[in-house]
Symmetry: C2
Subunit: 401 residues, 2 copies
């Protein structure tokens, strides 16, 4: 007899984004080139101002950082929010985190006891479900539809899911995996719901800079002063500066009791990386032109990808308003099976493409089974080729299935 | 009315190591120099081989690493264990973690459901209690005593604490906060207990290199082949390479089902930092002489500190066998109050010393109230001065209390 792992370990889902990685590795081992559109890990350069922190590194030893976050980084975050028009956020309202991931984890833990519910708009970023499983929280999906570009359903439809166990609404805007950018009216509606039902509102805005249809996206920060004890912002540098491997994000709230609890969790893990914090602390030195150039590049890719997808018979998609993802509905009955086919049975001139089956972004059983998430994180030439591969693969797949 | 944070948030304890930091900052603001012996954040240089990874950095963008750990780092860890004589550990048995902290968190989560117990030897590293609180696990303390150098009590005494809820014994050797190095016999006894009661054995060995009384310390790795489904090793580079701010550690086990569950948790947080992983991956390039020099330096400091402490009337301590901590019993009734006094009311030539009250390392109420943990992480000259400050402060404190 041997001891068994905890029951809850089995409840943690495998990442739908990464679960096909072994098949991709096997394809590569066979000499097949794989276009990675399965994960939001962009090829865009990290700003040279950030790289310079590494090449000019002097500090030795590389000791612990502060648990809340190093002073210069906290100040850089506060200055960033000030520039966005939210000067009310001080360094005392910020907890530096190990990526946006840790900010999500901390926010969920801070608002939910085991067995509590959070409302999420489906399809949703799969790792919300991972952390919910770790902390024994139920993700209650409120389904959105490709038919209206994944915008929010009515207040009544959302409120239908709220019970005594509901502790928060968790949203993501600009949205991963849909690319939808919620309007100010949609955010106000969520604020009204949160007020009426006395629950928290957690907003994951790590794609804030990537909005293509004009202007600044609506942010939970616009509600925060009015609802200081209900709003929690989750943020990250990963996408903004194309620096996913620099594990730095933050959690922002005016709820000081909640934040001091979060700091106690942060003390338990000592600190975020000292080098990563130092890299992130120079964010204010990155010129505005960097962000503008990156946005322009993603917009171009979005347009190329969208135009390409429209040429494939049977594929449905709506033009994403932000982030760098698109949900496409394919003419297949099981996109998971098709994504595996792409890696195991298909290649064209020794090339194939890797996509994320969308069912992993849905909680409702069977939902999204025809859909895939495509991350447009490669340049336009590669995207054109990837669309061509997808087109050919669909023909081949549908012949044999 | 406002929503309240989760009940469990309130159960997460403040770090006893970091809780006095605001008082230290206030002392510094008054112009007082503070000798930091409160935290294991050494002044020893990080190896130049590791710093070179930064200054020679070329990779751009800084994208995600692998969730399990980057290949070169996994191989470096496996090569390290092979050099220690444990060649049976392959890269497939290793999960790279964000510091030893995350390895502890993952191990606890993987073996305990909410309400389960783990046995810990008291005094113990305070962050075990933080993660236990986060995951709803009870730390059951088995008390060890300064009188026998904090070595383990009898098998009978340990087994007295085991119930149906007990899922693991968590040990730390060389020990933080006591400096005790368990013997092979002690580890074998724990292995026998784990076998007899069908529970896991989790060993935190991040101080492995710092053993002063001869040879290689006993390791759970010596039991792992015999008990492949019960042994879990927690490790970290932080102390070994004086690189606490490089948040890289690992969890090692031959229990593949447990490890695949741990990998799913790891996927939820995407990856450890790419830069930190690259730094850690060159561990094999660091010459043996680095480790030997560092050990010699700590041994010198230990001897200086221990000799100094023995000159202070009323102070009791046993010579630490490893790590870089000592637990000292002071002639005060409340070491927490004394540690605050050091920062708020005492200074000698505008200097004072910061220590960690040991009560934070005990679970049993009232235990360790006269004790402090001293980390000998500063050079001998500074340690001599720190001992002098401690001596003067005790005289002054005991006059006024």
């Amino acid at each position: 007899m041997n001891p068994t792992p905890s029951k809850r370990l089995n409840t943690v889902p495998a990442s739908p984004i990464r679960v096909l990685v072994p098949l991709a590795n096997a394809a590569k081992a066979r000499g097949t080139r794989v276009y990675h559109l399965n994960i939001g890990d962009p090829d865009i350069q990290t700003p040279k101002e950030m790289l310079s922190v590494l090449t000019n590194w002097k500090q030795n030893p590389i000791g612990y950082g502060q648990s809340q976050g190093d002073k210069s980084l906290l100040e850089a975050f506060a200055a960033y929010y000030k520039k966005l028009g939210y000067g009310f956020i001080g360094t005392e309202n910020i907890q530096v985190t190990v990526g946006g991931s840790e900010a999500i984890a901390m926010a969920l833990f801070a608002v939910c006891d085991p067995g509590d519910d959070i409302l999420v708009f489906e399809p949703f970023y799969a790792n919300y479900a991972s952390y919910a499983a770790v902390y024994g929280i139920n993700c209650i999906p409120v389904t959105t539809s490709i038919a209206n570009g994944f915008h929010l359903p009515s207040r009544k439809e959302i409120e239908r899911h709220i019970t005594k166990k509901t502790k928060a609404i968790l949203l993501c805007t600009p949205n991963n995996p849909t690319g939808t950018v919620y309007t100010q009216d949609e955010l106000e509606m969520l604020g009204d719901i949160a007020s009426a039902h006395n629950i928290f509102l957690i907003s994951d805005e790590v794609y804030r800079e990537f909005v293509y249809e004009g202007g600044k996206p609506a942010s939970i920060l616009s509600l925060m002063e009015r609802m200081p004890r209900q709003c929690i912002l989750v943020d990250s540098l990963s996408k903004r500066y194309s620096a996913c491997g620099i594990r730095i994000g933050c959690l922002v709230t005016l709820h000081d009791e909640l934040l001091s609890g979060v700091l106690r969790i942060a003390q338990g893990r000592l600190s975020a990386g000292l080098v990563d914090q130092a890299i992130a602390a120079v964010m204010g030195d990155v010129p505005v032109s960097y962000t503008e150039d990156v946005r322009r590049e993603y917009q171009k890719r979005r347009d190329v990808l969208y135009a390409g997808l429209r040429t494939i018979p049977g594929v449905t998609a709506t033009l994403p308003e932000g982030a760098f993802y698109i949900i496409a509905k394919l003419p297949v009955s099981d996109s998971g099976d098709f994504c595996r086919f792409l890696l195991t049975d298909f290649s064209d001139k020794k090339e194939t493409v890797m996509l994320a089956p969308a069912s992993g972004f849905y909680k409702t059983p069977g939902a999204g089974k025809q859909e895939v998430r495509i991350a447009y994180v490669l340049d336009s030439t590669k995207l054109i080729r990837a669309v061509e591969l997808l087109k050919k693969a669909l023909v081949e797949y549908n012949k044999s299935h």
